[in-house]
Amino acid sequence: MGSELLRSLGDLISPRLCIHCGQFLSKDTLFLCSECLQNEPYLTEEDLAATSSDHFPDGSVKKIFSPADFTHDSSLRNAVLTLKYKDGFRIGKYLGQLIAQKLRDSIIQAKIDLIVPVPLHRSRLIERGYNQAELIAYGLSSETGIDISTKVIKRVHFAHRQVASGSRDERFKNMQGAFKVVDTALAAERKILLVDDVITTGATIRAAANSLRAEGAAEVYAASVLVVCSHSFRGAYTQ
């Protein structure tokens, strides 16, 4: 009730608008209006399974938990961009909760022990002020009740922004050795869910997963707000 009162007061001073379409948000919607959320290109279980094996043919990551496809007019894409590049740090937790709400059953089924957000390099962390993956992971954790740890892995070398550059192999080479497991005790014998904002080629996740598995992690899963799904992904990267 208290937070609702505060939100109403806040709306009086400065009404909230949908990040995607600019419509006024009603009292109990956050960040994205229900219409925009409805029109998302959500993925089915089959889509996800196909995408997982497409991205990780080596089985380094067992399964991807991503509610929607990465397309250009997606409202979630807009939300992620705001989170990453427009200082919209409050959206992180919301997006994490959204992942959990959409894929709750399959996440619970996987019996995951620990959520680990993909870390940022320290210089990027200072530049942005926060790790967006960590914020998403918090939301995911709060909704599913699974423990979270940011102390398992660390990013050791700085990669340049790779939102739209390079082929999958190039990216993977670029990412190799980027992560180092700091707390092996936490990783050993456990089912770990790696969380990132977007999975484009899977290079980052694969690099992190390989480091974790090398230190004895039982199984590695991946979660993200958006994933470049196999069909759209083929169109974009197989030329």
Partner: protein, 828 residues
């Protein structure tokens, strides 16, 4: 952020409440709505808004927001106005007085002027009463002592203090201490000349009840402890100012003091005028621009804090902004910018991406609720108008650039679609829009708008933001190494001289400048209405061509309405004699029904003030006078001949008539050669007669005798026009008067221009016997150091049954000379 449509605006209560608040303040400044009415209305409206919002019922909120804005504006202005004492000494307008006051704020501390405000606890002044005993009326002078329980704030001014006084005041004057001194207490006049600056209004908005012109020879006593907070802030400001002075050259230091601590008092008036005339005074006004630079510095400074605590980072950032606010003594432009940045950051922190318009509205509401008087402050108005212009430019920019790209992108003219080109184009567009929205204010306050501001801004804005950052850096460097600091100071100096050179050059080209001195409030209102209408039409129009047509039509309408709304102050078919208020100096304009305009003397040229440029030229424009046929200089003192130089330079005078300079007096010879350099001139002598179209002027008292004082040799003019006669006696002293009366037999005149600002050196009883004036004109500065006009002279005039008009009491005096009668024109 998406562009908002008109309907969307209704969803932002602040966007509606802010204009409502401003209207409420404007309307209730006249006190229509009492507090017992406005306050409950405002509180009820606010409560209703809250209730409706909690129930998610949004339909009535815009209306309630408007009501809340209006009522709270009305309430806050009436509370603020009630606490102000407009006439602390009752009906008394001016008097010499002994005053004890607690110093509140030191405003100017230079060799030319010291000025500070103080809360007056005790004032002892002279008053007069008229006793009537039968038919006999006698004036009785007595001293009144008044103590205040609710002390009014007075402004104290000392012009040209001597070095000893300056040094001791600079050391001892601190906020919170008590001072007692003597000076001339004066209720401020609203305008001293037609079209002039409304000083009384300005002081009222600053909560200042009256002015005390401190006599430079006053004895004074400063005692007591300084106020802990205000005193230390002042001392801190002083020490920063001194440090800046010490590190930089004498041209750069005053500008940097303006940029960093908002202390503009030491900037050379000529340079200040360069900034104003080229439309970049906003840089020196410590505006959003400076705060934006500080804001960017804080962003860089606290970035490392972010991963640990965003709350702490936000707090640290806002704290720095508020420290800057304290350092600049809460100047309203800085308040505007700091509150706006804070509101923006807080909203952003709470996860609300908001529009600039909404942020601006919230800022306006916050500021005006605390101090509604700010609405009347020039700086606040210009500052808000500038932000509105900026936002409009931002909204329109993308569309203009898109059309531009569409047109030139095809024609492979790389330069016209390159990045640097768009950077410059953006600056041009922003400057244009800011100027457009500020236009009515610029016209009212500065009498001019100029396109020069476009090149001036493009060059000066980056350079002065560099100067601001580098200036702060230099201050920190000086803590480590004086050598490094002086290197860095030299770089600032270079930047400053580039700005100086550029704007000095631009100003003298005078390109793209329109001067308007006769605007009205109604015109300003019409202007904004037209702009608003055309903006609505533009948003409705669907092609670029239609939009351009609407802009063009708006411009034509504005020009036409300006021409049609002009109101002449002087009727062309009447005769006038105008005593211009040039402070301690002389300047008279004679205008006949036939359109002939003559000028006698032109006021002061001092180190910081040129009457010709600052008062007479704008006044002539206000009167619609383009050319002066004959100008006369009575003698070569700077308070009579000084202002003539800039009038000659501007080519406003057809023929300048000068007295023969004394070859033994080098100053006179020098001034003569300067004046003679700029145009047609003639040396007059006794007996010369000038006449044209019903106006004639005869010269007396020009004997080629040398060695006498310049005042004794003052040219005396007998002017005849419209059946009236006026005697101008310059600065004539007793000796000169005697000589005059010996040589001239008939000196009878209806109007006498009293010699030497009413000094007791002239205007003897004998002269008054000869002239027998019905009216007397005295031009003297309020609270001038010579205490002109002298009580003796005033008494003699009264005994001679002469009605006296004084510029120190009533500002500019316009007398209309009709056939057989003379009447005073009320121009206020």
């Amino acid at each position: 952020m998406k562009h908002l449509r008109f309907n969307d605006l209704l969803r932002f209560p602040a966007l509606i409440a802010a204009p409502g608040l401003m209207v409420g303040i404007l309307v209730n400044d006249y006190g229509y709505f009492p507090l017992w009415f406005s306050l409950p209305v405002s509180v009820t409206a606010l409560l209703l808004i809250l209730i409706f919002k909690l129930k998610d019922q949004n339909r009535l909120i815009p209306l309630l927001a408007l009501l809340f804005g209006f009522a709270s504006g009305a309430a806050t202005i009436s509370v603020s106005n009630a606490s102000f004492q407009s006439n602390p000494l009752g009906k008394l307008k001016q008097s010499d007085a002994d005053i004890t006051a607690k110093i509140s704020e030191i405003r100017v501390m230079t060799y030319e002027k010291i000025s500070f405000t103080g809360e007056v606890s005790l004032i002892r002044y002279d008053s007069t009463a008229v006793d009537t005993m039968g038919k006999k009326r006698t004036k009785r002078h007595f001293t009144v002592t008044k103590k205040f329980t609710e002390p009014p704030t007075l402004l104290f001014q000392i012009k040209n203090p001597d070095t000893a006084l300056y040094k001791s005041f600079k050391q001892q004057l601190l906020p919170g201490r008590e001072i007692s001194l003597q000076g001339r207490y004066a209720n401020p006049l609203n305008r001293r000349n037609p079209g002039g600056f409304d000083y009384a209004e300005y002081l009222k908005r600053e909560r200042i009840s009256a002015i005390v012109y401190v006599y430079p020879d006053s004895t004074y006593n400063i005692s007591g402890q300084p106020d802990l907070i205000a005193g230390s802030i002042y001392s801190f400001r002083q020490s920063i100012g001194d440090k800046i002075d010490q590190l930089h050259d004498k041209y750069t230091a005053p500008i940097l003091k303006g940029l960093i601590i908002a202390d503009r008092s030491t900037i050379d008036p000529e340079i200040m005028q360069n900034y104003i005339d080229t439309g970049i005074a906003h840089i020196l006004a410590v505006s959003g621009f400076n705060v934006a630079v500080i804001y960017l510095i804080t962003l860089l400074l606290f970035q490392r804090l972010k991963p640990y605590s965003r709350g702490a980072e936000l707090f640290a950032r806002i704290l720095i902004l508020f420290l800057f606010l304290i350092l600049t003594q809460f100047q309203v432009t800085v308040v505007r910018a700091v509150v706006m940045f804070s509101v923006y950051s807080l909203l952003k922190y709470s996860g609300r991406e908001t529009t600039g318009w909404n942020t601006l509205s919230i800022t306006i509401i916050l500021i005006l609720l605390v101090n509604p008087q700010d609405l009347f402050s020039t700086s606040f108005q210009l500052s808000v108008a500038a932000v509105v212009g900026l936002f409009l430019a931002e909204n329109i920019k993308s569309e203009v650039f898109r059309v531009w790209r569409g047109y030139f992108g095809e024609k492979s003219k790389k330069l016209l679609v390159s990045k640097p080109f768009f950077w410059v184009a953006e600056m041009v567009l922003v400057t244009l829009f800011v100027q457009l929205i500020m236009l009515p204010f610029l016209v009212v306050y500065f009498g001019r708008v100029t396109l020069l501001s476009i090149p001036a801004n493009i060059i000066a804005v980056p350079l002065s933001s560099f100067m601001l950052v580098n200036g702060i850096l230099t201050l920190f460097l000086s803590l480590i190494s004086n050598f490094l600091a002086s290197l860095s100071a030299a770089v600032s100096g270079l930047a400053n001289s580039i700005i100086d050179y550029t704007i000095g050059f631009l100003r003298h080209t005078n390109w793209g400048t329109i001067e308007i001195y006769d605007s009205t409030a109604f015109e300003a209102f019409a202007f904004y209405a037209l702009i608003a209408l055309s903006l609505i039409l533009i948003s409705a129009a669907n092609s670029f061509k239609k939009k351009s047509l609407i802009v063009l039509a708006t411009a034509v309408c504005i020009l036409l309405s300006h021409i049609m709304l002009q109101t002449p102050l002087l009727k062309p078919e009447e005769n006038y004699i105008i005593t211009v208020d040039v402070d301690q100096g002389d300047c008279y304009i004679l205008k006949t029904a036939s359109g002939e305009v003559w000028l006698i003397d032109a006021g002061v040229l001092g180190p910081t003030f040129d009457t010709g440029e600052a008062i007479i030229i704008p006044l002539l424009k206000r009167f619609g006078i383009e050319k002066i046929q004959h100008a006369f200089v009575s003698h070569y003192d700077l308070d009579h001949a000084g202002g003539m130089i800039s009038l000659m330079k501007k080519g406003l005078i057809k023929q300048l008539n000068l007295p023969p300079p004394d070859p033994a007096d080098t100053k006179e010879v020098a001034l003569f050669s300067i004046l003679a350099k700029y145009g047609k001139h003639k040396i007059y002598k006794t007996g010369d007669l000038f006449s044209a179209n019903g106006l004639s002027l005869k010269v007396f008292n020009q004997t080629p005798e040398t060695g006498a004082k310049s005042n004794s040799r003052s040219g005396v003019f007998m002017v005849n026009f419209a059946t009236h006669s006026v005697l101008f006696t310059g600065d004539l002293d007793r000796k000169g008067e005697k000589a005059l009366m010996e040589t001239e037999s008939n000196l009878r005149s209806e109007i006498l221009k009293v010699s030497h600002h009413g000094s007791s050196t002239g205007t003897s009883r004998a002269l008054l016997e000869e002239v027998k004036p019905a009216f007397a004109l005295i031009s003297a500065g309020v609270g001038n150091r010579y205490r002109h006009p002298s009580q003796k002279v005033l008494q003699r005039l009264e005994e001679a049954n002469t009605e006296t008009f004084r510029t120190d009491l009533e500002g500019c005096i316009i007398l209309q000379l009709d056939e057989g009668s003379i009447k005073k024109v009320n121009w206020r």
